[in-house]
Symmetry: C2
Subunit: 432 residues, 2 copies
């Protein structure tokens, strides 16, 4: 049974704060182990990567070449995939690409009234590394979601690393990589793979940015190489907030709540509704679904331990609560979802109306499914094309425009006590 | 005497790698001390902030109210400023605001061929915190550069913290805050100020994002509160790369190199030129300038220890070197700077042509002077309006459009073993 909160009751604020503050993850301290692996990879390069891979992935390869995935291997993997699933993957890839193409930012380039040329150029990073977890967490949809934005941004090299424990690799992951514009693939994982991407080895040229989910070792390694390379945010357990009035089918809403809960026992599913009877009906529907779901054990634990049902006097009045939750995924199962969405400030992704289950966004809608967790939608965004680009601003002065704005720079430099700053301007105005 | 490198010589690659890898900063390990301060501020709130402020800033106030800067105090500070300098500050603020207004991103909202509503809304963060160093490093220009983008983004609360050691505060910093749209000011600093912004206290409501430069304690505190709030990048020592052919006045270029060198002994100034005689003339000009500059001690140390002159066979051929340096500030003192700039991938900000000294960008040009250091221009950007905003993507399906794309989601969910995902779609297609 999930927590039941009532926004109209006296203890709501205290209980809501507890819900927001609840830790859902046990953080493992693997910093020292990761530091040693990274230092070794930095020093010994491929040899270290091969040693750690043999040890942690229980393989026995003699060199890095055996860990490089050839295009023939990719093609063979693709042939091993179900043809129908490949068609679905094609649809997903093309829809994700189409949406991300529309995200491409525009440069800025103009001359202002003072005659100063001003602007900003967007350029892709040269190389990106994509970490893909191995084993059961190897999701082809995540390959598409992480690699396609890099490809659309125009990144030259998209290097995928994916561990193949015991030599086993999900062929759909390779088929997804082919569709997503990945240019190099290595069967390596863990901190050693992150180190290879960040520092480079003899066989793997360093990248500029590393993205993708991973276990505690991968997360710690990404934190430690940050600065040498850029990284994406460190993802926490998944979350959904469903806002639903009483005019919904409880079975549908229950399925949506469970689609997050089945990810992980630390996932969180929250329902906000203004209808107590509907809330009860959803809770019962959850139990009915659980009876037939393969991942019922995980989903039931997540729902019981982290789930919540919040009863509110009105949906409109719940906007403050919605913004404070700042959910990764927000479903608005109401009549006028756009009007409600317009009033909401914080959410990773919004799913509008009764016919837009969150899962459609996990696979084929088009927007990215890599989204801010743990309330970070207050200040951060889902993965996008601009995460693989950077901006360079520019200024160009003529002697005339410098004469117009230069004196203010000289005056401010003097006020800040930075005389060489002032002199570099003054000397060009013949006031040096 | 700075290092002299010649791109045509056999030892260039080795020496260039050494130059790129050279550490210019001594990192202080203050993590434990900062952790204790943050925990105390989180627990005791204002009382802890007051205690640390009395101790570290050598003041003796009895409560947080004495540390809040009233608008009357701001007005009085403004009156104490030189009228001419205020005019310069006005020009700077209006030019910075004008440039950043043009950075405001556009939303995306469309319906695709399948009938799916898709898009992305940009929203400002609700509250931003701006850290401003006290004492001699309190630069009014930095207040403008950090606060104006937040103001343009539409952030509701822009909270500035600035320590006033011994009760002393630079009045120009308050005058800049007034022009930059700062909404609250507290005379607090160090890790305690960062903690107050991140966790909130009785008097200071928490913010969502913290930006601005600071000492080792401030940098460590920002790293530790990251996740609770967003932060900007941790700035390293400043750098300039000047690319100049022989048709420049050596005195001008020398002044530009010194305008970075005077910041800090760990700043770095590099000249790339294709003219050995010009290189020698610049080196001599640097020495002449140093004889008359107030901050000659700092500038001379920076130039001798971290400066470099790189002789290249041709400017065009130096693009690879320029990109590998990925300088914070890049001056292109050549005839056709735009043609050269178009080929460059990595730079924080570019200054075009012989009449655009970098210092013009520090104060009045318009683009931001908070820029990526230490080669991070390979993957990150200067501060901008979007750093105070976040994107929420959205999807809206009708029964018809869900019927078109839903089956692929069901198929992929099945391939990934996530049955509740598939069910949440199938149930709406009457296939549940």
């Amino acid at each position: 049974m999930p927590q039941q909160l009532n926004a109209a009751s006296g203890d709501f604020e205290r209980r809501f704060l507890d819900l927001l503050a609840a830790k859902r993850e046990v953080s493992e301290d693997v910093d020292a182990a990761v530091r040693a692996i990274l230092a070794d990879v930095k020093q010994r390069g491929d040899a270290a990567v091969v040693d750690y891979t043999n040890k942690f992935d229980r393989v026995s390869v003699s060199g890095i070449d055996a860990l490089r995935v050839s295009s023939a291997e990719v093609d063979a993997a693709e042939k091993a995939c179900d043809a129908e699933v490949l068609k679905h993957l094609d649809l997903a890839a093309s829809r994700i690409r189409a949406f991300h193409e529309k995200q491409k930012p525009s440069d800025l380039d103009y001359t202002d009234d003072a005659g100063v040329e001003l602007g900003m150029w967007w350029k892709p990073v040269e190389a990106a590394g994509l970490y893909v977890p191995g084993g059961t967490a190897a999701y082809p949809s995540s390959v598409l979601m992480n690699a396609i934005p890099a490809s659309v941004a125009g990144v030259d090299r998209v290097v995928m690393v994916v561990p193949a424990p015991d030599g086993v690799l999900n062929p759909l992951v390779l088929a997804a990589a082919k569709r997503a514009g990945v240019t190099e693939i290595f069967k390596i994982g863990g901190a050693q793979a992150v180190g290879a991407l960040a520092y480079g080895t003899q066989a793997i040229k360093p990248v500029d940015k590393i993205v993708g989910p991973g276990n505690a070792f991968v997360a710690a390694a990404k934190r430690q190489v940050f600065g040498t390379v850029g990284i994406d945010s460190i993802a926490g357990p998944s979350e959904i907030l469903v806002v639903a009035d009483g005019n919904n089918d409880p079975d549908w809403i229950a399925a949506d709540l469970l689609s997050q809960a089945e990810h992980d026992t630390s996932a969180q599913s929250i329902l906000i509704t203004d209808d107590a009877d509907f809330a009860a009906a959803v809770t019962q529907a959850v139990d009915r679904h659980l009876a037939t779901l393969p991942r019922a054990g995980i989903a039931a634990t997540s729902w019981a331990e982290h789930g919540a049902v919040i009863l509110v006097p009105s949906i409109e009045g719940a906007i403050g609560i919605i913004d404070r939750i700042a959910a990764e995924h927000l479903e608005l199962a109401v009549d006028k979802p756009r009007a409600l969405a317009a009033k909401i400030r914080n959410a990773g992704a919004i799913f509008l109306g009764r016919h837009t289950p969150e899962a459609i966004g996990d696979y084929v809608a088009g927007p990215n499914h890599v989204l801010p967790t743990a309330r970070s939608a207050r200040f951060s965004s889902g993965l996008g094309v601009i995460d693989f680009m950077k901006r360079t601003t520019f200024v160009g002065c003529s002697p005339e425009s410098l004469a117009k704005i230069g004196p203010a720079a000289i005056g401010l430099a003097a006020a800040e006590g930075l005389d060489a700053h002032g002199r570099s301007v003054a000397i060009r105005l013949n006031r040096g």
